[in-house]
């Protein structure tokens, strides 16, 4: 009861704490999907929506997942308005980063293979491999069953391995 009352009237300190804790993740999420130019506005919009709808947050998931879910909707609306069908890989991958110790294939070939994935599979890879979300978190962010996330990641990596078959060490 006390918890629900606190949720119904969030204090400003709680909101500001959430902004402080999750702004970086939300900004990166937006930048990787809509570009850095639009990322600030989209991140701000995400937190404004979070502020208005905080009373509806039931605490069933982690606040980070809930906020990223809001950001996902904000970015989706942005794509709809700007008619962006596909997010450029260069927004979230940079082949010029320092090389890994155990690189099993050519980076450009990997980029090309990623470019051939479907948007759903690529999004699953981005959420899990780059942004580090668990399957359960991805399922909530994308509003799909957890089994679907598992399947998408399996087939995404299967397709990458198939594309890179000749070049894999």
């Amino acid at each position: 009861m006390a918890k629900s009352q606190a949720q119904a009237r969030p204090d400003q300190q709680t909101i500001e704490r959430l902004v402080t804790e999750h702004y970086a993740a939300v900004y990166r999420f937006c930048a990787r999907r809509a570009g850095e130019d639009a990322a600030s506005d989209l991140a701000q919009e995400t937190f404004l929506i979070m502020q208005k709808s905080y009373a509806k947050f039931q605490g069933k998931s982690k606040p980070s997942t809930w906020i990223i879910g809001i950001a996902q909707n904000v970015v989706r609306n942005h794509h709809r308005k700007t008619k962006i069908a596909d997010v450029p890989l260069t927004d979230w991958l940079d082949p010029a980063t320092p090389a890994h110790d155990k690189e099993i294939c050519d980076r450009q070939a990997l980029m090309q293979a990623l470019g051939k994935l479907s948007p759903d599979h690529r999004e699953a890879v981005l959420l899990h491999e780059i942004e580090g979300h668990t399957y359960a978190e991805i399922a909530e962010i994308l509003s799909v069953p957890e089994g679907t996330v598992k399947s998408r990641l399996h087939y995404a990596f299967l397709q990458l391995r198939t594309q890179l078959a000749g070049g894999l060490q």
Partner: protein
């Protein structure tokens, strides 16, 4: 799902215990699975290492925006003020409509009650069964002080003719007593004397308020009728009209007869007849029986409020008179006596004025007016179109409809234009809110 499909989830630590055991068992048995898992691990590591670094921007701006959004905005204040203003304007505009509706409802209720009373008192007459009966309490005409004299002159005739009215008067006597009782119950001696004089000398009938005019709902009604009758012979009908006027305790106020000799002449006559209100229905019935009734309408003017108001003021005046009389008895100084007498004279003068006013109301209520139009049979009153001009009628009807539609559209435009101070701000606020929500 086979083991290969679970390899990625195994690497990510997303399998349950049973699935994980299955994968580990398969890995131990099949070296190719280990190679496959190594490739998955290598790809995952490469992707992580290739992640583009993203410098964070806009944090402070977002903090400030969040903080300002938490404060009550001016927009909310403006919206509230706007809503209050709109409600105030609407209330101001429509309050007269509500008040009018309430008044109209009351008027309708009174009309229904009066109509019910009128139906119950209307004699059965075959000649009036097919005509319209329009009873309303619209204010018509004005009171004529001279009318009372006519009643006095014809009163004896009326008494001998209308015995039924006496019975009704007696049956309503208790109502009159209850109405006048408090009025005269505590009066001074002079007032009592005045009453006793009235009861001893009933000759000026107009001075006695007759409750026979009081309807079932307690209203005092001055009734009027407008009657149009087609008769066979205008001259014999003229005689009968005068006889009816005489028998009905009233008199012929005015008459106009146009009856020249000749076959192609339409003879007409019109009358204004004042009859005793007790004889009103009977007189209308007798006049309707002169021939074929073309139209008849009756109306009633409710003067209950005026009578009750006069009674109340009279009561107050008599009470004041009593008080002055009491003071006068106890007064000893000449100056006091003279002053009290002066005031007493003023009060009595006002009492006499009110009593005269009351008498006027009574006399007005005692007389009803019947306006009669006679037309000799064969006149042009009933002429109908010789042939059915359906084309002309259709054109006329279509024109009427077109006119009505045009009128409706014009009225709508006028309403929209005049009410624009209401709907334009509402529209603008709605549009603004929509734009803000959308943005």
């Amino acid at each position: 799902m086979n083991v290969k499909e679970n390899l990625k989830a195994y690497l990510d630590g997303e399998l349950n215990e049973q699935e994980r055991a299955q994968v580990e068992q398969a890995l131990a048995q099949d070296p190719s699975l280990q190679q496959e898992m190594d490739q998955l691990t290598g790809l995952s590591s490469m992707l992580k290492s290739m992640a583009k670094p993203v410098p964070i921007k806009g944090y402070e701006a977002t903090r400030e925006r969040i903080a300002s959004a938490a404060k009550p905005s001016l927009a909310f204040v403006w919206k509230t003020l706007g809503a209050v203003a709109i409600v105030s304007i609407l209330a101001t505009m429509f309050f007269p409509v509500f008040a009018q509706s309430k008044e109209a409802a009351k008027r309708t209720q009174d009309m229904m009650a009066a109509k019910a009373a009128d139906v119950s008192s209307t004699p059965a007459s075959g000649s009036t069964s097919s005509v319209t009966d329009d009873l309303s309490f619209e204010e018509k005409g004005e009171y004529t002080p001279g009318a009372g004299a006519g009643v006095d002159l014809k009163r004896k005739d009326y008494e001998s003719f209308a015995g039924g009215a006496d019975v009704r008067a007696k049956s309503r006597a208790p109502m009159e007593e209850s109405r006048n009782g408090p009025l005269y119950g505590n009066n001074s001696e002079s007032s009592k004397k005045s009453i006793s004089e009235k009861s001893a000398n009933p000759a000026p009938q107009v001075n006695t308020y007759n409750p026979g005019l009081t309807l079932n709902n307690g209203h005092d009604i001055v009734r009027n009728a407008d009657l149009s009758v087609k008769v066979a012979d205008i001259k014999s009908a003229d005689l009968q009209v005068k006889a009816v006027a005489a028998r009905s305790g009233g008199y012929l106020e005015s008459s106009s007869v146009y009856a020249p000799e000749g076959e192609d002449v339409v003879r007409t006559a019109s009358y204004s007849i004042r009859v005793d209100s007790h004889q009103f229905d009977r007189a209308v019935g007798q006049l309707s029986a002169l021939g074929e009734v073309l139209s008849v309408s009756t109306s009633g003017d409710d003067i209950t409020a005026q009578i009750v108001d006069t009674d109340a003021r009279l009561k107050a005046m008599h009470s004041e008179e009593d008080q002055y009389l009491t003071v006068l008895k106890s007064a000893k100084k000449i100056g006091e006596i003279l002053e009290v007498k002066d005031r007493l004279a003023n009060v009595r003068q006002r009492i006499e004025s009110l009593e005269a006013q009351k008498k006027n109301f009574k006399s007005l209520a005692q007389l009803s007016t019947i306006t009669l139009s006679l037309t000799e049979d064969g006149g042009p009153v009933d002429k109908k179109p010789a042939e059915d001009d359906w084309v002309g009628n259709s054109v006329k009807n279509a024109g009427d409809i077109l006119g009505a539609v045009g009128k409706f559209l014009a009225q709508t435009l006028i309403y929209v234009a005049i009410l624009s101070p209401i709907w334009v701000p509402v529209l603008l606020i709605g549009f603004w809110s929509y734009r803000k929500t959308k943005s």
